[in-house]
């Protein structure tokens, strides 16, 4: 789960990580008032859950309240990568002596938490990682062995700064950031940039926080921050019904049991020159309701010209699945061709049941199903 910068900064404040003086605004008038209250130059920043807002014109400097209002008008309502800006953060403009990057994430290969720091702050860290990987310093943190130790934080801090005053501040920020990371079950936290201001104080100018969906039950205050983006609405609804769905832009609707098999079916469609309309995993059950819900999602996608169902019956028996499918077809009006490949436990019985419906197109392998679906879509 992702949150906005202003929300991430609220968490920073709880963990005593220094941030600039900031006010969240929803109208240009509010922006003007906020600018007046801050009483100096401000930066108006679009609050959107995608990267690259600066390049898109979503971050602008304003010298006075009038300018701030004007900038607020420009940014509020604009679209950044398809997302409409509805909130802006009005932030005091900070004099920047230097910029760096610090962050934490889970490292899959070492199975530990990795703390990252780079003196190349203020730019896209993924680009730094690609072009100058030697500018990113990493240490592995083992939560089972005392978490982030002072010496580890200090060693990283010395990679960013030479003077003891900055090193000390960096250490305390890294320690606090680690505490926030653990305390919220985050999967990523970043300060980019971490800036040194005119007085030599380190401040988190920007903040990024992603959380582990599986741990949200422990953090109701964070779960409450969830905002379903318009593009994710169908995916979210599918999830609530026990389905895993992701829309793509092809024309062959896929319904498969199991995530890996679903990806394999999609790849197969592509291999033979077609294009999958979606990823859809109905899981391991033969519950007719799931099949009905899955079918409804596919039928609601105007791009879908043909439906391809690929089921491998394991513990779930094919005859149960077939009965579920028949029930689903009876309950829904389906005016698209449906190709079905059903194999595994009780395959024969399952296929006998499916043969009752003359409109279904049976396939004897995943390859056969993909080919037939593509052929029908091209008609």
């Amino acid at each position: 789960m992702k949150i906005d910068e202003y929300q991430a900064k609220e968490i920073f404040t709880q963990y005593n990580i220094p941030t600039p003086q900031e006010i969240l605004c929803k109208t240009p008038q509010e922006v003007k008032q906020a600018s007046r209250k801050i009483g100096k130059k401000v930066v108006v920043k679009a609050q959107v859950k995608v990267g690259g807002r600066g390049k898109a014109g979503g971050v602008k400097l304003a010298n006075n309240p009038q300018e701030a209002e004007e900038v607020g008008k420009q940014i509020l309502g604009m679209e950044i990568k398809g997302l409409k800006v509805q909130k802006v953060l009005v932030s005091e403009a900070v004099e920047i002596k230097s910029e760096s990057y610090v962050g934490f994430t889970n490292d899959r290969s070492s199975k530990k938490i990795v703390c990252m720091a780079s003196p190349a702050g203020g730019v896209d860290i993924e680009e730094v990682a690609k072009e100058t990987p030697d500018k990113i310093y990493k240490i592995l943190v083992d939560p089972l062995k005392g978490g982030l130790h002072d010496f580890q934080a200090r060693n990283l801090a010395f990679k960013l700064y030479d003077d003891v005053k900055s090193v000390r501040q960096t250490v305390s920020i890294l320690k606090a950031l680690y505490k926030a990371y653990i305390g919220t079950d985050a999967s990523l936290v970043e300060i980019n940039p971490l800036v040194e201001n005119g007085e030599g104080k380190l401040i988190a100018l920007d903040a990024k926080f992603n959380f582990d969906d599986n741990a949200l039950y422990r953090h109701p205050e964070i779960a409450k921050m969830r905002e379903v983006l318009p593009a994710e609405k169908v995916e979210r609804e599918a999830k609530e019904k026990g389905l895993s769905y992701i829309k793509l832009d092809g024309f062959i609707g896929c319904m498969v049991n199991g995530a890996g098999l679903a990806m394999a079916a999609m790849d197969m469609i592509k291999l033979f020159g077609g294009n999958p309309a979606n990823f859809l995993d109905i899981g391991g059950s033969s519950n007719p309701k799931k099949v009905i819900n899955a079918m409804k999602i596919l039928l609601n996608d105007d791009n879908v010209q043909v439906v391809m169902i690929n089921i491998f019956g394991g513990i779930t028996r094919c005859d149960d699945v077939a009965n579920g499918l028949m029930e689903a077809f009876d309950a829904l009006k389906i005016n698209l061709p449906v190709v079905i490949r059903l194999t595994g436990t009780n395959e024969k019985e399952g296929l006998e049941i499916l043969k009752q419906n003359k409109e279904l197109i049976l396939a004897n392998s995943m390859q056969d199903a993909a080919k037939k679906a593509i052929e029908l879509a091209n008609k």
């Binding site: 741990a215 592509k270 990823f279 391991g284 394991g314």
Partner: protein, 288 residues
């Protein structure tokens, strides 16, 4: 022979009084696995399909001599179940549970490693050594004792591939679902080492998917260490970046972990990569 489980496996089912735990305990028993006990705190003394239930792993191991455990405990209690199993002295822990918080798994995998336990999963369908033992939820019928070791990040896709291997008459030595989560216990390299040392295994199939770099690391390991042939199959070529494809671990993040990168890494290491599951048996046959 086989790896990790065989006819000497004595299995304890953690969460045996739950719906899935009870159902699969019976299925494993039917397959021929020696299921010696179950654990469900507070339900000690009961029986499930004739299998005695204990209040703790410690008690279950002491009473039955169990050497392997399988976990069907709900996600929020599953990490504790892994600690309990690792502490009890079993050699192999299979975690079927899906949805365990990642930070819990960072600690639990470390704890298992320090106790020298082989941790499989989480979010794993388990493993099977056909003809000997099944510890998991895989459908026993599609397997046949044979010479191919199979390791996979997926469930039903594994069955699809195994079906082709079995129908080609090759059979399997051991087939493992390593788990679909980002942080898992044993990874491809751990299984490769065991397959390399197992006399029954003549070739290995590695079924990978988008996300992380386990396949790339395995490719490097195979090139440097394996004498047995490995065939790769990678899914998720059509997956968009930044989206989780069902499995928590199947996500292309910051532009890395794509199927194309993984396939390229395997090919570079001289490992044949199948385009579709039905090609896999022919490739194996050409290598052994």
């Amino acid at each position: 022979m086989s790896i990790l489980i065989n006819n000497e496996t004595k299995l304890i089912v953690q969460g045996i009084t739950g719906r899935d735990g009870g159902f699969h305990a019976s299925r494993m028993k039917q397959y021929g696995t020696n299921v010696v006990g179950g654990v469900s705190p507070g339900k000690g003394g009961q029986k499930v399909d004739g299998i005695p239930v204990f209040n703790s792993m410690q008690k279950a191991v002491a009473e039955t001599g169990g050497n392997t455990s399988i976990i069907f405990v709900p996600a929020r209690f599953a990490a504790d179940a892994i600690y309990e199993a690792a502490d009890s002295g079993v050699d192999v822990i299979v975690t079927v549970t899906e949805g365990i918080p990642v930070q819990d798994m960072i600690k639990a995998t470390q704890f298992a490693a320090e106790n020298d336990v082989n941790l499989i999963g989480p979010n794993s369908p388990g493993l099977i050594s056909p003809g000997q033992a099944k510890v998991g939820i895989l459908p026993g019928k599609i397997f046949e004792q044979g010479k191919v070791g199979v390791m996979s990040r997926s469930g039903t896709l594994t069955y699809e591939v195994v079906d082709h291997i079995t129908k080609a008459g090759l059979g399997e030595s051991t087939c493992i679902g390593i788990g679909g989560d980002p942080i898992i216990g044993m990874t491809f390299i751990d299984y490769l080492k065991l397959f390399e040392a197992d006399p029954q295994t003549e070739a290995i199939v590695m079924i990978g998917e988008i996300g992380g770099d386990a396949e790339e690391q395995a490719a490097k390991f195979i090139k440097e260490n394996m004498t047995k042939s490995v065939v790769g199959f990678i899914v998720g070529k059509t997956a968009p970046p930044g989206k989780r494809m069902g499995h928590a671990g199947a996500i292309i993040s910051s532009g890395s972990g794509t199927a194309a990168e993984k396939i390229a890494a395997l090919k570079k290491a001289g490992i044949p990569v199948a385009n579709q599951p039905n090609e896999i048996p022919q490739i194996i046959e050409s290598k052994i």
